[in-house]
């Protein structure tokens, strides 16, 4: 597949540090979601984050995406310190550097599949025609080009997730973030998404995947980060089983 343009996405070279977390804490009132997390992710890596429910995995992902700010600690993504950025600056950073996939897809119900995907490129100033052309290419590569004019409500779960993957890839992000990407899918659709992620990583796409699914982690990831109570408790390299 040609999605592999993303090997050099964001100007990252293999081996370069894409994500650098240093002593990140996040408190919500009394409770502490993250308690001093330090973590480096290099370009081309596929990192899986696992841990019990409520341990802070989604919070960690939000920090990297600039969707939320740490109470203390440093978050550097692609060489940019997110702490120093304004809300608007973070938004601009997200559109160019980050692609996100969610458990419940988070497609815009108001737009058909094609426009959901194209929207990401339009935000960067690409014309609507050009954005749609690239979106169609992506949908085609993901095997759902024929569903392009269907609204999310009428798509199956697997189809929705593939649309959201296409959307995440639109701007050739430096980093693809996935929060439970297979959590809402049956095993067959889940397999398809896993294959997709593996393919993407093999052509150089850096991945950070949060999951409960042991199978997803071992199939897709090159490194496993285990989190408990807001801390990284263990890290190890994985031999991919796929």
């Amino acid at each position: 597949m040609t999605t592999g343009d993303s090997s050099n996405a964001g100007g990252t070279e293999a081996g370069q540090v894409v994500v650098h977390l240093d002593g990140v804490r996040k408190e919500y009132g009394e409770s502490t979601a993250l308690d001093g997390v330090s973590l480096d992710i290099r370009a081309g890596e596929a990192v899986a984050v696992m841990g019990p429910s409520g341990c802070g995995k989604s919070t960690l992902l939000n920090m990297v995406a600039g969707l939320d700010r740490p109470t203390s600690g440093r978050v550097v993504v692609n060489g940019e310190d997110l702490a120093s950025m304004s809300e608007t600056g973070l938004a601009l950073f997200r559109r160019r550097r980050i692609g996100m996939i969610f458990q419940f897809f988070n497609l815009l119900d108001d737009l058909p599949a094609l426009d959901n995907v194209a929207l990401a490129a339009q935000l960067t100033g690409v014309s609507v025609a050009q954005a749609r052309r690239r979106a169609l290419e992506l949908l085609d590569e993901l095997g759902i080009a024929d569903r392009r004019n269907v609204y999310p409500a009428a798509l199956s779960g697997g189809e929705r997730q593939r649309v959201s993957v296409a959307r995440a890839l639109m701007n050739r992000p430096a980093l693809l973030l996935a929060d439970e990407p297979t959590g809402a899918l049956d095993s067959h659709a889940g397999e398809q998404v896993m294959d997709l992620l593996i393919d993407l990583n093999q052509i150089g796409q850096t991945l950070l995947i949060v999951t409960h699914d042991q199978r997803l982690a071992t199939r897709c990831a090159s490194r496993l980060v285990e989190v408990a109570d807001g801390r990284v408790v263990r890290q190890r390299s994985l031999e991919r089983t796929a």
């Binding site: 919070t59 608007t88 601009l92 815009l108 108001d110 426009d115 990401a120 339009q122 935000l123 409500a153």
Partner: protein
């Protein structure tokens, strides 16, 4: 196409219902506002504009030439404070005969009554530039220019070149027609003509430096009369009196239209705020997605603004167009018969500009507050809000309701408003205003009805004396014989003979119409505000508008003049309704004014009150047969166009605003149902019937409706106390307390229910569609 535009457009398309509601609400409010502002403008600006163009006389004063010389007057007018002066002009009062014989060709027959004639060489000048709209100005004796509203002639023979034959004056040829807002004269002749007309007064017209208020005009009058001999001043007329006279009817509409306009505007703002904040809250996940995609906070705000601005602008534009269309005929109705063609009833462009710019501005402001919440909302929170259950603030209340003995659907419904306190508060306010409107409107209608009733003379049959001039038969019987004949007819209860006579009121350049009554006149008395009905010679009754206009009160004396004879009279009572230039008096007062009222036929109509149970049509037929030359007309009572228009437009505006309030409820239920799809699905999956779901959703709004009634009724009562007296004051009248206390317990109870009615009406449709939602659909949408 930008990303913001595309997302907004998709959102507008998807929320068709809400979009439609916003457009409709803005549209109706804009219509009400355009009409209100248009009237406000039309009621004041045209007079001021025309008056300034004509350099109208702020004060018209008449002096006794026997007591003060022209030189003295000119000297007094040269004092500081006087900006411009015209005159002195000699003035005489001629009387047009009331019973002109068949008109000769080429002879003008002006309406009977006094005509104030002024000698003026020039229609222009520093004050009171008379608008000569036909013919030319007087150049020599023997010529006259008549004051007529622009484009109007009184009678078929009135034209340039016709002759005017008035008692006590040589034959005059009409050379032109002119009008003036200053109302300074009824006709003009050349100054050389005046000696032959035996002038009785000198007229001086003044403009003062900065004289806008009544106090300033009064001070001006004091300035120009200071040091003049006692009794030199015969009378004076402030332009404010003239203005009040000419704009009164239009002004009566202003307080209530303004009240409705403001109510409509506030309701529109609240609903827009509710719709937008609802869109923001129910779109939390949507916002999170937009942010995760890289929409900047400003872009998110822009999406939400465009979403409401699109239908808002459409509503404002359509509303302005419809408002313009609605205002034109209304302005025409309001001014017809009052402006005498002086003003053109056009809507001034600033009204359109104001609503076209103001309405969208209001919408943006209303939308901005909740949209800024979307601006601040952390993306992480927003995204998780979509799937995570909210910590409901209403939980404890809901649990409490659950513990009551109410049916579960009802207790669940009662708890619902607490889950979204902000939205519930906005909906409640909309309901309160809806009830306020209904209360104000019903009070207004009742007061106006009482006012009409006050003007009702309870006369069932009025017969006019036939006029040979217009091809009718004149009666052969004399006045007294006719009255006797009427009294002898079966079915007659009371008879009053009425003689309308134009009179000159000494000290005023204006004419008053006297209604002299003979027979059972006491029974004809309409509702009194002060004093009592006139009964003896020298007593008159006037309307409260008369006392306001002429600065008189009950107990004051005035002198009436007819064909050179004078009679002093006392005001003994003030009626609620009636004309500002009309006095009602018993027959004896007319007897004192004319030497022998028996020889001339002053009575031109007979009013008959019928015995109960008498058929009016049969009676009138019998009357016409018994007295040839009498023309009976069925008489329904005193409903005039003003009251009809007010009651009519009140009803329309009330229905509009009640509908708008119901739309607000509709919108809230749509939002609540959309947000609670999952709860609804769950409730149904555990066995709640569609009927129970409907009951639950309707109950949630009915509870707000009850509160809305409790709060809205007192506010409506207060608004009634404010608006109605202002309206009546605008036409120069006052209301007795009996006409303000129009509320009875059953009516109040009904009004309290109005809130529930509006709430249930608005809630029913979306509640039923929520009840019909299938569980599969609900789960599919997740």
């Amino acid at each position: 196409m930008s990303a913001v535009w595309q997302v907004s457009r998709a959102a507008v398309r998807r929320r068709r219902l809400q979009t439609f509601v916003i457009a409709l609400v803005v549209l109706t409010s804009t219509v009400a506002l355009v009409v209100a502002l248009g009237l406000l403008d039309a009621a004041s600006a045209p007079f001021d504009r025309t008056f300034d163009q004509q350099r109208g006389a702020q004060l018209t004063a008449t002096f006794d030439p026997a007591k003060v010389t022209d030189a003295q007057l000119a000297q007094a007018a040269a004092r500081p404070g006087v900006a411009a002066v015209a005159g002195p002009f000699a003035q005489a009062v001629l009387t047009a005969p009331s019973n002109t014989a068949v008109q000769a060709p080429g002879v003008d027959a002006p309406p009977p009554g006094p005509i104030t004639v002024v000698g003026r060489a020039d229609p222009a000048g520093p004050v009171d530039r008379v608008d000569l709209w036909e013919g030319r100005w007087v150049e020599r004796p023997g010529e006259i220019v008549l004051m007529r509203p622009p484009g109007e002639h009184y009678g078929p023979n009135e034209a340039v070149g016709s002759r005017l034959l008035l008692p006590g004056a040589p034959s005059l040829t009409v050379v032109g027609f002119a009008s003036t807002l200053s109302q300074s004269a009824g006709a003009w002749v050349s100054p050389d003509q005046m000696p032959a007309l035996h002038p009785t007064a000198s007229q001086v017209l003044y403009r003062f430096t900065g004289s806008g208020t009544a106090d300033q005009v009064r001070a001006g009058l004091a300035t120009v009369t200071a040091g003049l001999p006692q009794g030199a001043l015969l009378g004076s007329l402030s332009y404010l009196t003239v203005k009040q006279d000419m704009t009164a009817t239009a002004n009566a509409y202003v307080p209530f239209l303004l009240a409705f306009g403001v109510l409509g505007l506030v309701v529109a703002v609240l609903i827009v705020a509710n719709v937008v904040s609802g869109a923001v809250v129910s779109g939390y996940r949507h916002i999170g997605v937009l942010k995760s995609l890289g929409f900047t906070p400003n872009q998110v705000v822009a999406v939400y603004l465009v979403m409401v601005l699109a239908p808002g602008v459409v509503g404002a534009v359509l509303g302005t167009v419809l408002g313009d269309l609605a205002a034109q005929p209304l302005l025409h109705t309001v001014f017809s018969g009052f402006d005498y063609g002086y003003f053109t009833a056009t809507l001034s462009p600033w009204v359109d500009v104001l609503t076209l710019l103001g309405m969208p501005a209001v919408i943006v402001l209303a939308a901005l507050v909740p949209a800024l919440r979307a601006h601040r909302l952390s993306a992480a929170r927003a995204i998780s809000a979509g799937s995570a259950p909210r910590a409901g603030r209403g939980l404890r209340v809901q649990r409490w309701f659950g513990g009551t003995r109410l049916p579960r659907a009802v207790s669940l419904g009662l708890g619902l408003p607490f889950a979204r306190p902000g939205r519930s508060a906005l909906t409640l306010t909309t309901l309160v205003l809806g009830v306020t409107t209904v209360t104000l409107a019903s009070g207004l209608s009742s007061s106006v009805a009482a006012y009409i009733e006050a003007g009702n003379d309870h006369v069932q049959s009025v017969s006019y004396v036939g006029d040979a001039e217009i091809g009718e038969r004149a009666p052969t019987l004399a006045d007294a014989a006719i009255e006797a004949k009427l009294r002898s007819l079966p079915g007659t209860a009371q008879v009053t003979a009425m003689a309308p006579v134009e009179l000159h009121m000494v000290g005023s350049s204006q004419i008053v119409r006297g209604w002299f009554m003979r027979g059972d006149s006491a029974g004809m008395s309409t509702a009194m505000l002060k004093g009592r009905w006139a009964s003896g010679p020298g007593e008159v009754v006037v309307a409260s508008s008369f006392t306001a206009k002429h600065g008189l009160t009950v107990g004051d004396h005035l002198t009436l003049q007819l064909a050179g004879r004078e009679q002093g009279v006392t005001i003994v009572g003030e009626t609620v309704t009636g004309d500002a230039d009309q006095v009602e008096a018993p027959w004896e007062t007319l007897t004192a004014l004319v030497p022998d009222p028996g020889t001339t036929r002053y009575v031109n109509q007979y009013w008959v009150r019928l015995a109960p149970g008498t058929n009016v049509d049969a009676y009138d037929a019998a009357l016409a047969a018994a007295v040839p030359g009498l023309y009976p007309t069925a008489h329904g009572g005193g409903t005039d166009s003003l009251t009809v228009t007010i009651v009519g437009s009140t009803t329309v505006l009330t229905l509009l605003l009640a509908a708008v309030a119901a739309l607000g409820v509709f919108n809230t239920v749509v939002l609540n149902a959309r947000e609670r799809r999952r709860d609804l699905g769950m409730l149904k999956s555990i066995g709640m019937t569609p009927r129970q779901v409907t009951l639950m959703m309707v109950t949630s709004m009915a509870a707000l409706g009850v509160l809305g009634g409790l709060l809205g009724v007192p506010i409506g009562l207060a608004a009634h106390r404010l608006v109605v007296p202002a309206m009546v004051a605008a036409v120069g009248n006052a209301l007795p307390p009996s006409m303000m206390n129009v509320w009875h317990a059953p009516a109040l109870a009904l009004l309290l229910l109005a809130g529930v009615a509006i709430a249930v009406l608005g809630a029913l449709l979306p509640a039923r569609s929520a009840a019909r939602l299938t569980i599969a659909e609900v789960l599919r949408s997740e």
